[in-house]
Every structure is written in structure tokens, then in C-alpha cells.
Subunit: 280 residues, 2 copies
């Protein structure tokens, strides 16, 4: 049986640290979340972020726009927030409705307030190995591996999914830790052959229980980033019941990487706050 990696407990521990830091701030750190339209999953993610911010004392601003808001109105709002010295972090809740130019909107966020680490320049800085804001989910994956003292150097990390939010930045972070990294995706012809080689297997696809026990090497570390709703219950991309019998360590869904993502968002907000350029 495997050790279940408790993302929720670790997230609460990190929140405690953040709370302690925030307590000493005269002006509270703050984040603005931009939402366009209303999608039930986005609503629930935003609520979780708000709850975590409230718990640690980060001031939370929710900027909600109607589905048909002109793009320029949203970009102007972001520019206003960029120039507001009392706003430390800005994030746009994704996905945006299809008609918006997501890249243009994301790139209008100031690089120094980009708590999701998604502007082109922050992406480039990360790839080029510079200190910068990194997307929260891959950061959460690295952090939980560290907490459980999982060695990464020289290990074969197989990542299933190549999204800009998870797969691609995670690959960079894993390379920085000297892992051998393979990225698989929907066009991979022999997925099982790949996943079976993984010392550390990360799945971030959004396909319920797609990783079955026969796809996992005995003793592998399995990180499940997927959050899927099946029969009104949350489940991950990994068939937890079966895979947990083979893995040495495994993250559950819920209470695995989900809370870690929120904890890393708090860390990124505090980082922005601490690195705030001095105004005037």
C-alpha cells in the first residue's frame, strides 16, 4: 500500500506560515481576480481562493464581468489594477469565454503582479532559468514532492498532458531539478509503454480514471492533477483505488494537488507583495 500524500494538511501548514507573515503587514497584501461570465466550476474555484485569502488575511477583490463585456473594458480594468499600488497580485480566472483573446488579456497583466505566472515574459524567464513567478499548480506539485522528500534528480518523470498551466511549466521545473522528463499527450501512440517507465508519474489531462494500475510501475510516485466530476463526485485522472495498491506515494483527489495550488497562489501573492517596487 502506498503513502497518501496529504495536500490538504500541507496546504493548511503553508497557510499558517502565510498567516504569520501577513499578521505583521501594516497594509494587507491583496489580490484581484478577474472573472468573465459565469461558469459553475470557475465560481467554485474562485470561492476556494477567496476562502483561503480570507483565512490568511489577504485582501480579496473579485472583479466580475458579464459574458458579453468588450475585451477592451477588461484590459482597461487590468491596466487600472496594474497601476493600483494597493493591488499586489492579479489573476484572470480561466477559461475565458471563447470569443476573447486569452493571450492578449493575460499579457496585459503587469509581470510583477502576474500571480498565475502566465505572461509571455514570465514564461520565458522561467524557461531561461531566471527567478520569476511560476504557475501555481506545477509549483504545488514540486512542493508536495519536497515535503515527502521524494528524490527527483536522475529520476524519470513522465508527465501526461502538455497544457501551459501544468504540463509545460512542470517540465521546466523538473528539468531544473535534474530529472529526465518525458511529456505525453493525446497524440502519444504508446501511452502505457511510457507511463510504465515513470519513477514519478504526473497526470494532468482531465480524463476520469484514465491512469489504470497496469499503466503504473510498482513503487512509482503518482501525482494526480486532474479534477473531474463524475456522478456529482470529484475524482482524478488516476484510478486511485487500484493504483494506490501499486504506487509508493500517491496524491488523492480531492485533498491532493487542488489545495496545494491554492497554497502556492497565496505564496505568489506574498512574493509579489514583498517584491513590490517602491512607489514614490
Amino acid at each position: 500500500m502506498s503513502t497518501i500524500m496529504d495536500g490538504e494538511a500541507l496546504s493548511l501548514k503553508i497557510q499558517e506560515e502565510m498567516k504569520h507573515k501577513v499578521k505583521n503587514c501594516m497594509i494587507r497584501p491583496s489580490v484581484a481576480v478577474i472573472q468573465v461570465g459565469s461558469d459553475p466550476a470557475s465560481d467554485s474555484y474562485i470561492k476556494r481562493k477567496e476562502k483561503a485569502c480570507n483565512a490568511v488575511g489577504v485582501y480579496f477583490r473579485h472583479c466580475k464581468f458579464e459574458e458579453d463585456t468588450p475585451e477592451l473594458t477588461i484590459i482597461n480594468k487590468i491596466k487600472e489594477l496594474n497601476n493600483d499600488e494597493y493591488v499586489n497580485g492579479i489573476l484572470v480566472q480561466l477559461p475565458l469565454p471563447a470569443r476573447y483573446n486569452e493571450k492578449r488579456i493575460l499579457n496585459s497583466i503587469s509581470n510583477s503582479k502576474d500571480v498565475d505566472g502566465l505572461t509571455d515574459i514570465n514564461t520565458g524567464r522561467m524557461i531561461n532559468g531566471r527567478k520569476t513567478l511560476v504557475p501555481c499548480t506545477p509549483l504545488g506539485v514540486m512542493r508536495i514532492l519536497k515535503e515527502y522528500e521524494i528524490p527527483i534528480e536522475g529520476k524519470h518523470v513522465v508527465i501526461v498532458g502538455r497544457s501551459k498551466l501544468v504540463g509545460r511549466p512542470l517540465m521546466t521545473l523538473m528539468l531544473q531539478e535534474n530529472a529526465t522528463v518525458t511529456i505525453c499527450h493525446s497524440k502519444t501512440s504508446n501511452l502505457k509503454e511510457m507511463t510504465k517507465q515513470a519513477d514519478i508519474l504526473v497526470c494532468a489531462v482531465g480524463n476520469p480514471k484514465m491512469i489504470t494500475a497496469d499503466m503504473v510501475k510498482e513503487g512509482a510516485v503518482v501525482i494526480d492533477v486532474g479534477i473531474n466530476r463524475v456522478d456529482n463526485k470529484l475524482c482524478g485522472d488516476v484510478d486511485f483505488a487500484a493504483v494506490s495498491k501499486k504506487a509508493s506515494f500517491i496524491t488523492p483527489v480531492p485533498k491532493g494537488i487542488g489545495p496545494m495550488t491554492v497554497a502556492m497562489l497565496l505564496e505568489n501573492i506574498i512574493t509579489c507583495y514583498e517584491n513590490k517596487p517602491v512607489t514614490k
Copy 2:
């Protein structure tokens, strides 16, 4: 026996196309190459670039600085070139002497003149899937694979070497073509096990003949990016004599990826010229 992929012939073909384009330009496209100090390998690379530019009619400017030039002098020169509307492309010959802050110098190049595709923002744009200037060597690898009609989608591409000039950008380009990609490097514990899986094996390390026949799958496509000087003769990272008996396609050294890199530089210069923002 394998098909030898003739990078030199393809490079000359591309140069012909470029020559044709340049012939119709009233003002010639131009590139400025910054060199600091003198390193024999850099001298020879710069000479090859100059020769290719001359061959197609691109105006070549060589800005050479002494080894002990202050960093600010170099950056000011780059700024001057950024603002010079008759300069379309700027590149800094790497490596710089160790005392310089390479990232700071590279990032002072205007993103629209960055023919080596190395500024943070161009790196980020590439990773995020936007049209941008891409480093020449990985571009050359993709182009020669295309010329020989090697299918990439769904194939397992194994890249040995994770440099920002070759390995990392190549991985992004391969993912865009729907390959399954593995990156290996000096810390990879089981290199042979990895390389033997490759449908397409790319080696970009700079270690003479490190890829031996037993590390290559029968019928694999082998791309050798290494350029090493052994006993005053050039050789690649691949043991060509032995591996060429197993591979289906293979690039030689010299006359493989080297000339392709120069051809892609010419393409990037022309791209910068064609996309030049209208001044005044």
C-alpha cells in the same frame, strides 16, 4: 544503410530562395553580430555567417569588442542598433566571456530584431505557442526533418542535452508537432535505455561520439547537433560510422545541422526585415 541527410545541399537551396527575395529589396536586409573578446571557434562561426550573408546579399556588420569592454558599452551599442532602422537583426555571439551577465545583454536586444530568438519574451512567446523568432539550430533540425518527410506526430523524440540554444526550444517545437518528447542530460541515470526508445534521436551535447550504435534503435532517425574538434578534425556527438549502419536517416558532421543553422539565421533575418515596424 541509412540515408544521409544533406544539410549542406538543403542549406544552399534555402540560400538560393533567400537570394531571390533579397534581390528585390531596395534597401538590403542587414544583421549586426556582436562579438566580445576573441575565441577561435566564435571567429570561425562568425566567418561562416558572414560568408552566407554575403552569398545572399544580406548586409553584415561585425561589431567586435575587446575582452575587457565594460558591459554598459556593449548594451549601449545594442540599444543604438535597436534604434537603427537600417539594422534588421542583432545577435550576440555566444559564449560571452564569463564576467558578463549574458541574460542582461541578450535581453537588451529588441524582441523584433532578436534573430537568435533568445530574449525572455521571445522564449515565452514560443513556449506559449505564439508566432515569434525561434533559435536557429532547433529550427534547422525541424526543417531538415520536413525536407526528408520524416513523420513526427505521435513519434517518440528523445533529445539529449537541455541547453537553451537547442534542447529546450527543440522540445517545444517537437511538442507543437505532436511528438512525445523525452529530454535527457548529464544527470540522466539510464541514458542508453532512453535513447534506444527513440524514433527520432537528437543529440546536442558536445561530447565526441558519445552516441554509439548500441544506444540506437534499428531504423531510428538520428540528428547530430554536436560539433567537436578531435585531432583537428570535426566530428559530431554520434559515432557516425557505426550508427549509420543502424539508422534509417542520419545527419553527418560536418555538412549536417551546422549549415542548416546558418540557413535558418538567414531566414530569421529576412523575417525581421519583412516584419519591420514602419517607421515615421
